[in-house]
Amino acid sequence: MPTRLRRPVAVIAACTVLGALLPVVTGTGYPVTLGFQFLVWVVLAVSWNVFSGSAGYPSFGHGVFFGIGIYTTSTLLTRTDLPLPVVVLLSGLVPAALAAAVGAAMFASPRFRGDLFGLVTLALAFIVATVVSNVDVLDGGRGVFVREAAAGTFLANDPVRLYLLALAMAVGTVLVALAIARSRWGTALTAIRDDEGVAESLGVSTYRYKVGTFAVSGGLAGLVGSPQAVYLGYIEVGAVFALSIPLFVVIMAILGGTTTWYGPVLGAALIVGARELLLDLGDPDLAQIVIGLLLVAVIVALPAGIGGLAGRRRVLRDAAQLRPRAVTR
């Protein structure tokens, strides 16, 4: 393993072990449920960042891919006898295919950069939600009972197994994000975010990287829709495709910092933790207001997010190492 990957991988491994020990310590109680929710947000925020943060294409449609993952699982569990691993895999592949198709169409035109890209991803949420609520096989507007359909599977009524599956997915997503960030793929995305025209002129196939990364990003979000469907037990279009989901994803990633692979993890922890604390105080409206204020404060004080603090230090340290002959002041 390259030296530059050793430390982050060690940190991720340590977090994985700690995460896996949580149910042993706390049993099947509330901490595991909260932990499950946190891990789902981690997958969503980190996978959003893999494309939208890294390439500078803010998407407001990340909930669509998550939702399609949820509905792929519910549909396959209720209507087919496919084994659970296949169901989970397809819950990632179906939204990945949709993201690839949408990306291939949109990125063919230079017009869909910046705001217009965000708008189209937002519109995608409405289109998909309308389709799902009108197609009987998927939902048809009545909602779907997933719990009964999942009863015979590995995940049946077992919060610890759900939690461990979400943990595995979160770790996998973070490893994917790390691998991309530290490879030529990540360099290509940084170049695209900085100046797409320059990236092209330097030989970066911007179209291929954008389509490919958007598909990976959507696929990871869909994958975690699978345990989410079982966790919810009963799903309906309004809740699954709620706009608050992509909104929270964007907030988490920006809060944590979009220029590092771990920033969104910090953002997810902060938001989930803050919400939990504030809800304990008993007022959900207050929680929303405080989270909003928190976001404004962070954007003003730390434009690069919380992760940006560490990122800045690292660049300076690398610079010092690279410049042995420079005069130090």
């Binding site: 330097l202 030989g203 410049r323």
Partner: protein, 269 residues
């Protein structure tokens, strides 16, 4: 406004005569044939012909707004043509995306330097080495980039943020990045503009050295005199059309060229 109606609007004679001139001994590296670019109602380039042969430094001059940078954008592929064809090494590249042209050996600089701001100087150059004509690993690319920065005298800035560079250093970073693609044809867009005489002289030397290392160069300059010292041949564009072409000494003595430049000078005043 009156200058916009100056007499050089008539069809050019020199472009035609040079195209029909002595046959070139080598096949052109780059050939633009009847290249046009239309932006809505504005015809930015109108049937422009231009050739660069292997080993040549070709100057491309013209008053402000004559379409020099537009032509360079079309050759580099960052902007699609509205008409005409562009061939590189005998291959039609008119419809190819910019990155593929970069892979085949066309590289460019930007008139207003456009460093990638979140990367250090050396990483800016390494990106070109990583994704250019010869894909290389990160480590190789960094080595190559360090070598190029050394040649251009930017080693001390290698690990700096690009925001700390002076204009002169930014222009040289543009060149460093373009070189990291290992180009066959280098498109330079006013790389010496805005530099002081010492810096510009170093730049002229460097461009000559590049040509000697086997890179052909298409060199855009606003200032005709600066080109004449370097270029083997030059083209003059005016209002998106070929106005003149040939040996620098002949071109700058051309009455049409003199009129175009005086006309544009009057328009600015």
């Amino acid at each position: 406004m009156t200058a916009a109606l100056s007499p050089d609007d008539r069809p050019t004679t020199h472009a035609g005569s040079s195209a029909a001139g002595a046959p070139e001994p080598t096949a052109p590296l780059l050939a633009c044939r009847g290249v046009s670019k239309r932006y809505g109602g504005l015809l930015a380039l109108d049937q422009v012909d231009l050739e660069v042969h292997p080993g040549e430094i070709v100057g491309l001059v013209g008053p402000n707004g004559s379409g020099k940078t537009t032509l360079l954008n079309l050759i580099g592929g960052s902007v699609p043509v509205s008409g005409g064809t562009i061939t590189f090494e005998g291959r039609d590249v008119t419809r190819e995306p910019a990155h593929r042209r970069a892979h085949s050996g066309i590289s460019r600089t930007f008139q207003v330097p456009r460093p990638l701001p979140s990367l250090t100087v050396v990483d800016n150059v390494a990106v070109a080495a990583m994704f250019g004509r010869h894909r290389s690993s990160r480590a190789q690319a960094l080595d190559e980039a360090a070598g190029i920065l050394d040649r251009l005298g930017l080693t001390a800035q290698a690990a700096s943020a690009t925001s700390s560079l002076t204009l002169h250093e930014r222009k040289f970073l543009e060149i460093a990045r373009a070189l990291a693609l290992r180009p066959r044809l280098l498109l330079l867009d006013e790389v010496l503009g805005g530099l002081n005489p010492t810096e510009a002289a170093a730049g002229v030397e460097m461009i000559a050295a590049l040509r000697d290392s086997g890179v052909s160069i298409l060199y855009i300059e606003h200032n005709v005199k600066a080109v004449t010292t370097l270029a083997d041949r030059m083209y003059v564009l005016n209002r998106g059309r070929n106005l003149a072409s040939g040996a620098p000494a002949d071109v700058i003595a051309d009455p049409d060229v003199i009129t175009a430049y005086l006309g544009s000078a009057r328009a600015r005043d």
